[in-house]
Symmetry: C4
Amino acid sequence: MKTFDVGRLAAFTDGVFAIAITLLVLDLDLPDVSGKAIGELIQADLPKFYSWLISFLALGTLWLHHHYIVAHLRCTDITILLLNLALLLFISVTPWTTSLIGAYGDQSIAVVLFSGCLGLAWLSIALIGLHAREHGLLLADAPKPEPGLMATLVTLRGTLIAVLSIGFAYVDTTWAVLVWVLLFVMHPFVYRN
Amino acid sequence: MKTFDVGRLAAFTDGVFAIAITLLVLDLDLPDVSGKAIGELIQADLPKFYSWLISFLALGTLWLHHHYIVAHLRCTDITILLLNLALLLFISVTPWTTSLIGAYGDQSIAVVLFSGCLGLAWLSIALIGLHAREHGLLLADAPKPEPGLMATLVTLRGTLIAVLSIGFAYVDTTWAVLVWVLLFVMHPFVYRN
Amino acid sequence: MKTFDVGRLAAFTDGVFAIAITLLVLDLDLPDVSGKAIGELIQADLPKFYSWLISFLALGTLWLHHHYIVAHLRCTDITILLLNLALLLFISVTPWTTSLIGAYGDQSIAVVLFSGCLGLAWLSIALIGLHAREHGLLLADAPKPEPGLMATLVTLRGTLIAVLSIGFAYVDTTWAVLVWVLLFVMHPFVYRN
Amino acid sequence: MKTFDVGRLAAFTDGVFAIAITLLVLDLDLPDVSGKAIGELIQADLPKFYSWLISFLALGTLWLHHHYIVAHLRCTDITILLLNLALLLFISVTPWTTSLIGAYGDQSIAVVLFSGCLGLAWLSIALIGLHAREHGLLLADAPKPEPGLMATLVTLRGTLIAVLSIGFAYVDTTWAVLVWVLLFVMHPFVYRN
């Protein structure tokens, strides 16, 4: 089972990412009532635009990091395939949790579900990286793991953001969702060189 | 026709798997009635969550095994392409059978359709493997087929689970669906080494 | 522009094929009315099952032949890319024409639209093959074009079936649609060796 | 981060293109009212057909040009990945802006949104090309950049069409949308040799 090539894992995952990120737009209201002015329609849809954009950035950041980990894999094993399947589970549910925060953005439970699924997706990616490191599945020229606390925080930063967001959800739901933008903004700094 | 490369077979199949597994989530109710509390919505949706999760695991296990067979193919012929098309037929219908057991989970016929299609998908994969073995389409370093009953059972275990599930469907529909989890759980043991 | 690699053309086309073939199932009625027995629902849906199956076979045969042509391309040029875009146009519209014959299978115009789009898709593939042959874009070991009428008929057989189907549409719509099964059945004979 | 391979960038982008271009067809009305004649349905749908076709050509031209740029990339860096993510954002929103011009084609704001998103998508591609040129990420045999005004105009012609279309939107919305056909028609001339 060690001969599993990385290419097909990436292709299947890319497919699920591509579909999930494109399905997000289906939640934007389509103009069915022709009597309504288009300006009103868009104004009433503002919370949905907001949740669509946040979710797009969140999935985009996840894909960038998955890309980064997988580019350094030499091969996969059954553990990585199962962890990747868990990742796909949490990604494929994102269009639904996104529509939840678009319609119920002021209820804590919607934000908890949204951030919880994203957090578990990040945890799956972190575990893929950790497992690959421990079992020698990384390429020889893969970036060295910096030792200590900092490296672990970098790997788990998505999960940390999720915990932060879930905590915020019981105080202010708007900020709880906006926290995910932070992860996107700090992205270029993590992969600086 | 023997020069067909395996890569494109895998890419097309990955696409259908990725779309079917992501479409499953469309069956979860989107929050249209803003007067309803989100907790009630999710509680009423519990059978759909349950069928979504089972179906995700069932398709995920199928993909893992397809990945395993195809990784050992040297090339394809028209028989494999047609068997793979049959597989895609049964996979692409899964979002529909999943929504059937989500809404009619207590009716035997819904479970029979769900498990029947999955069973035929597993049969298609088993036949791809058998055909490739008989016609020398496997790579030289492909895992040796262990002789006898055990190897046949491993290849056809998905179809056996389907027969079991269809039998259960006339006794207890909940257990008839849960049987598919068994296949997922035994997966790591089959590909142990 | 001659350096365009074939791989990405295939990947994009596979994506559109995979989505179109999976979207076909969305036309099957989802069980919304929980009061209705599942048996009745399926019986009322029979014409839709019938059109879904025919359309799946028609798209599957098209994909097999696209696979066959593209596997022998050395590289692509702008003409092939534009012809392939025309092909994708006619494939992406198939879920809509399929739902037309599912709901209006007894009206000639529905069958004319369904068969017309498939016929133009086959014509696009035939033109890709002809252009590649004339401009030396085929691999050296590509199958020799048999001379004369027979080779042209093999290349254009999908378009011929479409013309036949459109003719039948004004006599008997059921047979006009069933004609497409003929193309699928003769497939293995065309690629015999 | 410079080791990012181009293949996966292309695969993910192809997935989003393939889904967006296929989802366009979902906007065509499906025949639900069986009492209505099919001819009337299609006639009432004419503006949607028109917007579907324009949007298909616009996305197809974008894909051709993305293909052209990426085929000459040696590798990617984080800037290209982020620019490509911006491109995907504007592509994934196209099914929604297309349904806007299908239903509200006579309102300026619908055309401004449609052309604005396409213009920003073209700008993203142009920036990918410019960044790759400046930072030496192009293959050695990539086409030399012709100096001066002409080369810049070729790279930014999609954005120019968008500005033209947005200007037209306040005069005549039909012509404002038709301007995009111009981009498709001039395509073969740009990639002549």
